[in-house]
Symmetry: C2
Subunit: 288 residues, 2 copies
């Protein structure tokens, strides 16, 4: 049971976590912290949080669990502000999509308190943002990846694991490097492809017709291009090494496909499509 939870960044993820812990009776008080007063007032009205402040130092006072759920770009500033204010009993965690970068920032800011920090990332979300888009069931049966370092204390790791389990999530652990490689492939690269595709179509002379005649497959495919541009700027930059490597791998396959097409190599095309279909169909069976 968390006595006083501090959520810094009460958006889709932070808001859903707060709602979910409340619904599970796994939390006492919840204090929200953020820059947008209107969003925080909405969070109060929706009973997502009990109180709020725009000052991170005030926000963390007395909290036994602090969740930094801002965009990655704000993480450095938040860590530097809250680091002097946390007590020996406080656990800090985050929800950022680029774990190696977050760990660098944690090490340089938390100093001897680094053991109290648990790097985390819930694999859940929608293309919407803000507390109004949040809901208690967001993490149900989704995975939360924790990437503890050698410094992470067992007590802190256990507290964060229990918190996420209360939301119905499946918690697992891996190295930050492995996390970043996997997320670059399954999330960051697809977002780049969707953004690039829509941008490329929007710049065509026929762009109005293009979007008018798009079928359901196109809409599914490009839904993620409606995601928050500021958030994705930060994720792309903070995980750029793994993401650029993933983009280079994609380029190799894309070139293979282009060459098969321009040389009218029907067998190579069908082989590539068949491989991909088999992998995609097998992946469906891996789902919970």
């Amino acid at each position: 049971m968390i006595k006083r939870l501090c959520v810094i960044g009460v958006g889709l993820i932070g808001g859903s976590l707060a709602r979910s812990l409340r619904a599970a009776n796994a939390v006492g008080e919840i204090v929200g912290c953020g820059r947008g007063r209107e969003n925080l007032e909405t969070a109060i009205r929706l009973n997502v949080i009990d109180e709020f402040t725009s000052d991170p130092v005030q926000a963390v006072a007395g909290a036994d669990m602090i969740v930094v759920a801002t965009t990655l770009g704000a993480t450095a500033e938040i860590f530097s502000k809250i680091a002097p204010a946390i007590s020996a009993a406080t656990v800090v965690t985050d929800v950022g999509s680029a774990k190696q970068r977050v760990i660098e920032l944690a090490i340089s800011n938390f100093g001897e308190r680094i053991g109290q920090f648990v790097p985390g990332h819930p694999i859940a979300g929608t293309e919407h943002s803000g507390v109004e888009a949040s809901f208690a069931e967001l993490f149900q049966n989704h995975r939360v990846i924790l990437t503890p370092t050698e410094q992470t204390s067992a007590a802190a790791l256990s507290a964060v694991t229990k918190m996420w389990q209360s939301t119905g999530a499946v918690v697992c652990e891996m190295s930050a490097e492995q996390h970043d490689t996997i997320l670059a492939a399954t999330s960051h690269l697809p977002h780049m492809l969707a953004y690039a595709l829509v941008e490329c179509l929007a710049s065509m002379d026929e762009s109005n017709d293009v979007f008018k005649y798009a079928a359901g497959g196109f809409r599914d495919f490009t839904r993620i291009a409606s995601s928050n541009p500021e958030m994705w700027r930060d994720i792309a930059l903070d995980n750029r090494h793994a993401l650029l490597a993933a983009m280079d791998r994609f380029q190799i396959t894309f070139d293979l496909l282009k060459n098969a097409l321009s040389s009218e190599d029907a067998e190579a095309l069908q082989g590539l499509f068949q491989n991909a279909k088999s992998a995609r169909d097998a992946a469906e069976t891996l789902e919970e």
Copy 2:
């Protein structure tokens, strides 16, 4: 009212058209034609067709409307077989995704009967195939693009327009060239990206983990990579000029994005993401 409809290729599209016309009382008898006996027997059992034959010449005998709904790769053979067998009163149409190629084949096969052929393409589908995946509502509120040539007779165009309107579809006309450019952008290119992405991930050392940790966005994004490989081989090859042009346009935007990322140009990244999001959000409002 169609007296005797001949559907060559009783799969997702052909089967759904038959079901839909039946449901709308817009058809008398339906004869199915195809290579797979089992699929045709299923079509009889599901009451999608009344009778079947594997011989296209027999199939078209007495039909006032013939719909060629095979994969694009089979179109040339079907056209050459049925051309000598159609009467002056018969209308022929197709559902292929590469209209310039289909028109070439129609011209070289139908000779003086070319006016009776109406090139068509329903913008609807799912990642499933076969008559068991067909359903009467597939075309409801979806667009069907007809690409008549100067030779197409007004009577044939009108008959095919009415047929599709009976399914609840919105029928519109454009040139075959415009169709191919638009479809390359909105459908064929996204399929290439999805296939290439899944193939690229499947070839990673971490591929099992990669698919295990994929979130909902990834599954939406790659659903189209479960489409029929043979069908997509044909579409890609038959529309390869427009598709290669679309892939080249995509490459330009993808390179822009990669360069912005490797030079850590936050402003360029956010600008590109924001443009894409605006275009994607605006496209949603274009939907019926």
